[in-house]
Amino acid sequence: MTVYLLCFVLFLVGLYGLITRRNLIKIIISKSITEFSVFLILVLIGYIDQGLAPIVDPGTSHQVYVDPLPQAMVLTAIVIGLATTAMLMAIAIRLYRKYKTFDIREIKNLRG
């Protein structure tokens, strides 16, 4: 149970950063933290106590394996997260070149 609570705390930390930070790069870092907390929860869903990697070997008597499907999901999700982070970083660099600042209080052309 503690592990799930810690994941939730990590999620809240990321969300707090996403809401309160004013620096473009720090917002991206907060986004990544939130994302990783979701990934951790996904991995925990597939975890079974005392489970081994799901490679069936007829020689051993061990019968408990962890669920491999959430692991595959997390790998895919990490790749998607990488793509969005790279996109965001590229946009942040372009924004810095235009405005000469990372502060979102100065970047406010769009309103209303």
Binding site: M73, I80, T84, M87, I91, A92
Partner: protein, 512 residues
Amino acid sequence: MDALIPLFIVIPLISAFLIMILGKLVKGFHRYFAPLTLLVLLAMTIIVFANLGGSSLQYTVGGWGLEKGIPVGIFMVLDAFSVLMLCIINLLGFIALFYSFSYIAKYTAESNYYSLFCLIIAGMNGVVLSGDLFNLCVFLEVSVIASYALVAFGVGKTELEASYKYQILGSLGFMLILLAVGLIYWKTKTLNIADIRQVFEAGYSKPYYIFVQVLLIAGFGLKAAIIPFHAWLPDAHSSAPSPISAMLSGVLIKAVGIYVIIRLFFNMFVFSYEIALVLTSLGAISMVVGSLLAIVQWDLKRLLAYSSISQIGYVLMAFGMGILLLLRGNNEAAAVLAIGGGIYHMINHAVFKGLLFLNAGSIEHRLDTRNLKEMGGLSTAMPITSTTSFMGSMSISGIPPFNGFFSKLIIIVAAINGKFYLLATLAVVVSIITLAYFLKFQRFAFFNKSAGEALSKIREVPFPMSFSMIVLATLCLALSLLAIPSVSELILRPAIDVLMQSDLYSTTIIGI
């Protein structure tokens, strides 16, 4: 026929990569190859649509089908509801691409534009065809990441800012969706939508799934921009190049937002009164607030973007009413009307909002401004743009011979039949407000003569742009034929049946 299904995703994906590689080497390659791809997709859609009838096709990726009644592989499903979405995506995609020929010439790196455009189409086709929850999420991100890049395509100050905002909110939405998918997998141990339905029917712990459903509404609501989650939409849709705005507003928010919500809440989850109430009230709120925000805008594309929020509200409200009526169980005719009206309005909105964004693009192409106060007197200088945008405006505000009138009428009649008098009144009032802000657009852009003298050098837009607008304007008139009962029986009825008999989707796939 089954073998056609993966081609809907494979063809645009391959052409996206080919354009990226060969577009740099062969001059003009992308200008011919991208429209060819979309034309092939459109032809395939029409073939499938003509042969489908009320049945459904399915394809198992890699041949991993059912193993003792349990689906082990990824399923792709094409039924009467998804084929309508495929029609919208590929038709509007082709028209917007044809329009881009002249419009996009002012930007550098044209081949990247066409490549990203093909990626967006591939992602949306994938979302619509996928029968697997996680696979759906992946395709959703493919199309949405391509749209992040396309929103920022102009690399000006506003484009970059809009894209940044869109990406932060979009990835937050993806996290919520991913969490919900994980939680569903935890309880049901399967990701196949049809199989999950079977598990739900065997046993259903309501409080747990209410939480999951709320997560999904928030996640897909962020993609569909229903009102509390709408902050990114007016920025992103007004900053993108106009053909892309037409794609985003006309198709993307439906294919990755509304379509998935409808599919999951009708065909996967067991209906629950609370969630139906949430969907209906979210729809009604976005309908009203979206139109009130639109009426004060002076930026033409922002006005159109806010009006998208309001029209999507109509669609969501109609489907919510449909669930409420089905749960009540004593008035099936009204439920058919509500769901049919929702699907009909969704198709119509794609056509006229696409058309209006293309009109806005034409004005921007000639005048280099989106501010309504700087336009005026364009009706003589740009007759085709003026006429088609008049047709689009009348259509979206519900004036009789056009399609928007009939779909709104069906939704309002359904609301009155189902005794939702407040919602019917709101729908009528919002329709009048819509008429008001589109008359404002018409007056300031096309008829306000006083500002028109300086604009005498303005000419009509080139052929590809005017041709696409004429096609869409004709469709605005032609789609009102769907209101004739015998025609709608043929086209809309199979899609309504898929949603009305919510078990049918899962039983045909699992084959029980």
